[in-house]
């Protein structure tokens, strides 16, 4: 029993568990003197929105990573959900959109993610297929369906719908509220429910979980459905932000961003580890890297080069830490 007590102790532990906080602070200190406008209210809001978008995806992804799986299909789920929602609205709504039609469209979009997530979970849990393969295949076929369905045409969405992204509540953008609630909910599920503990158990040792009477099938399906659901929620935001439903909603690079953020934030690719607070720290860092590099006027390819390198570095650290932690 260490004599670690009180707030100071908690902060120490926190910093030890999440070295990424130092990285973010360091990056901030480096960039602020050169580009002080990074702290302007306008940029801070831009940064917050980028964090919110990435956090939604990272939360879903981390549920799957915790079970020692991976979900590579997120961009495709987002595209399909986007075009399904937009085309529904195009057929059933006027230019502003009735609240009911908007709500129905959102529900339909969420169902797309849940359904594809269910397929993934079922394939991984019951057919014992490798998650990597199943979700990579989906990245292609689901994405393909979205393109085929729209014939690559972008579908505009009504004014009412974009309030999901551009609306404000008490002066704060709606998506920030939504994502904050989602993050709290995810934290609650992971740390305070039977299902949460089972997700970790499945990731720590599938065979041990099975022998211990954990319903591993249901647990894995739950993880992939959560991931699909989060992808759909992100699709709602992106679609509103762009005013259109599109089969090419995001670059596949988003995938690396959300996996990278989770890993940098302490989620292990080998399963069993990951907490919402850490994921948030990872997301803040990735979003900050993107934002800073943009502020410094770097080009897109520079940004992705540097981000890729940073994520690789974090993965290397994760692997080393696993090797050393045997002693602790």
């Amino acid at each position: 029993m260490g004599p670690v007590r009180g707030n100071i102790g908690h902060i120490q532990l926190f910093l030890r568990d999440y070295p990424v906080v130092w990285l973010s602070l360091g990056l901030g200190l480096l960039v602020v003197p050169v580009r002080p406008e990074i702290l302007s209210p306008l940029n801070l809001e831009t940064l917050a929105l980028a964090i919110a978008l990435l956090l939604v995806l990272s939360l879903g992804q981390s549920f799957v990573l915790i079970t020692a799986g991976i979900d590579l299909s997120l961009p495709a789920i987002m595209s399909l959900a986007s075009v399904v929602g937009a085309s529904y609205l195009a057929g059933n709504s006027d230019l502003t959109g009735t609240p009911l039609s908007i709500l129905t469209a959102i529900v339909a979009m969420l169902l797309v993610g849940l359904a594809i997530g269910f397929l993934h979970g079922f394939s991984v849990a019951y057919l014992r297929m490798p998650a990597f393969l199943v979700t990579l295949a989906s990245l292609m076929w689901v994405g393909g369906i979205a393109v085929w369905y729209t014939e690559s045409v972008r579908i505009p969405v009504p004014e009412g719908f974009i309030q999901v992204w551009y609306g404000r509540l008490l002066g704060i953008p709606v998506p920030l509220w939504t994502v904050a609630i989602l993050a709290v909910l995810a934290h609650f599920i992971l740390s305070n429910t039977v299902m949460g503990r089972r997700l970790y158990a499945v990731g720590h040792g599938l065979q041990t979980a099975l022998v211990s009477g954990v319903p591993i099938g249901r647990t894995i399906v739950f993880a992939y459905m959560t991931s699909g659901l989060c992808a759909s929620i992100a699709a709602v935001f992106y679609t509103a932000r762009l005013h259109t439903g599109s089969p090419e909603l995001v670059e596949n690079e988003v995938l690396l961003d959300c996996i990278g953020a989770a890993v940098i934030g302490g989620t292990s690719l080998f399963g069993g580890k990951g907490k919402v607070i850490g994921i948030l720290m990872g997301v803040v860092f990735i979003a900050l890297v993107g934002n800073c590099l943009n502020m410094l006027g770097l080009r897109y390819w520079h940004v992705i080069m540097i981000k890729g390198g940073v994520i690789l570095l974090a993965a290397v650290l994760d692997a080393f830490q696993r090797r050393w932690s045997g002693a602790e």
Binding site: T193, V194, Q207, T208, V211, S212, G272, K273
Partner: protein, 506 residues
């Protein structure tokens, strides 16, 4: 008398403060076969691991041809002409027989800088080796396509490479059929003629007596007796292997089992695994299952717990038939399975002690709707269980179980099932890799539980453990229950013989 090719002198070895080898000295002469016998945990495998360089001795030394020899790595012992044929097979199933034989030193052609495998030479050299062990398969056959016996022969062929001085066989016949065993013996006799010194480890005392020139009996890391095989009879050897006061290690039962059946097994059969197994476990009974590796004892437990399937038979828990058992159903009915493989099936090694102990009983601490956990209650209960079992640890919420000793790990596994409220425990090798101190604590807890009416099946290779703990012991051999012995009739010699299948029970 020929000179000794291998000498062990005053070898000591301890793990976590528990001595597993104490002042072990004996010699193997060139062209002699020495049978090394002892119960599981007597120190035979440790001694062989020291010989092969996997472990190093704390004190004492080994001499090969009179020259001191202290291997630090397995390849050093191989260079010295020492080969070990393991109980567990070390073969790559996805490679061919020939590739497995030469995986460490493929015959090569080309220059020093750029070389590739000389396939033709690989094939001819492999054929020669396979012929030596009478293994009639194409060298290109994939190992996964070989039968268990053929794999064992291949493993032996692997050992025969090079200038061989000493070969140690560790339980080589467990997966062999009778003709294959005979074949092995003729190979060993040929090695003997070549002047190789052979150490032969086996539980099958009949084989040992037939094959060996000398016998060395090991118990608790000490040599009990060593000498020409003609100076021993099988019963002598068994007596030497098992004789020890048990009262010190095993706590006394206060209650006797109640006459209430909690687990009934009727005519359970799975072809090639178990045959017509029937027995009844009573409330508060400690029922032992004895038998050698491969006798079907572990497989039986796996079937009972729904991990493996069975073709015919019936399983009743608390008088109710369990159809299509699954681990989840079994856990719901209060059953627990403490598996043989602790790190793969018992623990989540990198998770905390708390996460591990909470795993089985989790649901009881969750609300009916949405399963919201009462975290404080759960934490308190985990803490209680950890204290009750006196798990030696620093922080239950942050320390991962892989940092614990074997004994403490086993207590964590046991704690997990106790927190889950299990009433029927299937314990497979409950004290494997557990030091003596923790072993006593675990026995004490088990006896206490049995006195409170918890029923358990204890599977063990350690006959002393079964005799010390159990109310009744079933002896299994080749998938069948050969004998059921009550406590008052415990006679270890007889049971060991039943397990070995050498002689009829009298």
């Amino acid at each position: 008398m020929t000179r000794p090719v291998l000498e062990f002198e005053h070898i000591d070895k301890s793990f976590f403060g528990a001595k597993v080898l104490k002042d072990v000295s004996f010699a193997v002469r060139s062209g002699a076969i020495v049978g090394l016998v002892g119960e599981n945990g007597a120190g035979k495998s440790t001694l062989m691991n020291i010989l092969s360089g996997i472990l190093t001795a704390d004190a004492g030394w080994i001499k090969v041809n009179g020259i001191p020899f202290a291997p630090q790595r397995p390849d050093e012992s191989a260079l010295a002409g020492i080969a070990l044929v393991h109980q567990e097979l070390n073969l790559f199933p996805n490679l061919s027989a020939a590739e497995n034989l030469f995986v460490a030193d493929f015959p090569r052609q080309g220059s020093k800088w750029l070389s590739w495998i000389d396939r033709a030479s690989l094939r001819t050299r492999a054929s020669e080796l396979l012929e030596q062990v009478n293994l009639d398969v194409d060298p290109g056959t994939l190992v996964e396509e070989l039968s268990p016996g053929q794999k064992q022969l291949l493993e032996i062929a692997k050992a025969l490479k090079g200038d061989l001085k000493i070969v140690a066989f560790d339980e080589p016949t467990t997966s062999l059929t009778q003709p294959e065993t005979q074949q092995l013996f003729s190979i060993i006799r040929r090695l003997k003629e070549r002047g190789v010194g052979v150490i032969y480890i086996s539980h099958n005392l009949g084989d040992v007596m037939r094959l060996c020139d000398q016998v060395v009996v090991l118990r608790d890391g000490e040599i009990q007796a060593a000498g020409d095989k003609d100076s021993f009879t099988i019963p002598d050897v068994i007596q030497l292997m098992v004789g020890r006061e048990l009262e010190t290690l095993f706590p006394r039962r206060r209650n006797t089992p109640q006459d209430v059946p909690v687990l009934q097994v009727r005519h359970l059969s799975q072809p090639g695994i178990v045959h017509e197994v029937s027995f009844t476990l009573r409330r508060g009974e400690m029922l032992g299952i004895s038998g050698l590796m491969g006798s079907g004892r572990t497989e039986l437990a796996r079937i009972l717990f729904g991990l493996d399937s069975y073709e015919r038979g019936e399983i009743l828990v608390e008088g109710e038939t369990v159809s299509a058992p699954s681990p989840r159903k079994c856990v719901d009915r209060g059953m627990a399975f403490l598996t043989e493989d602790r790190s793969l099936e018992g623990l989540m090694p990198s998770a905390s002690i708390e996460e591990n102990v909470a795993l089985v009983g989790l649901e009881e601490f969750g609300s009916r709707f949405l399963g919201v956990l009462k975290r404080e209650t759960l934490k308190d209960r985990v803490g209680e269980v950890v204290r009750e079992l006196s798990v030696d640890c620093r922080r239950i919420d942050r320390q991962s179980v892989k940092t614990l000793s074997g004994g403490n790990q086993q207590k964590v596994v046991l704690g997990k099932w106790l927190l889950g409220g299990s009433r029927i425990l299937l314990l497979d090798e409950p004290t494997r890799g557990v030091d003596v101190g923790a072993r006593y604590e675990i026995y004490q807890k088990l006896v206490e539980l049995a006195d409170e009416g918890v029923s358990m099946i204890v599977i063990s290779s350690d006959l002393e453990e079964l005799v010390g703990l159990c109310d009744r012991i079933l002896v299994m051999s080749r998938g069948e229950i050969r004998a059921s012995v009550d406590r008052q009739d415990f006679d270890r010699k007889e049971m060991l013989q039943a397990a070995i299948g050498e002689e009829r029970l009298t």
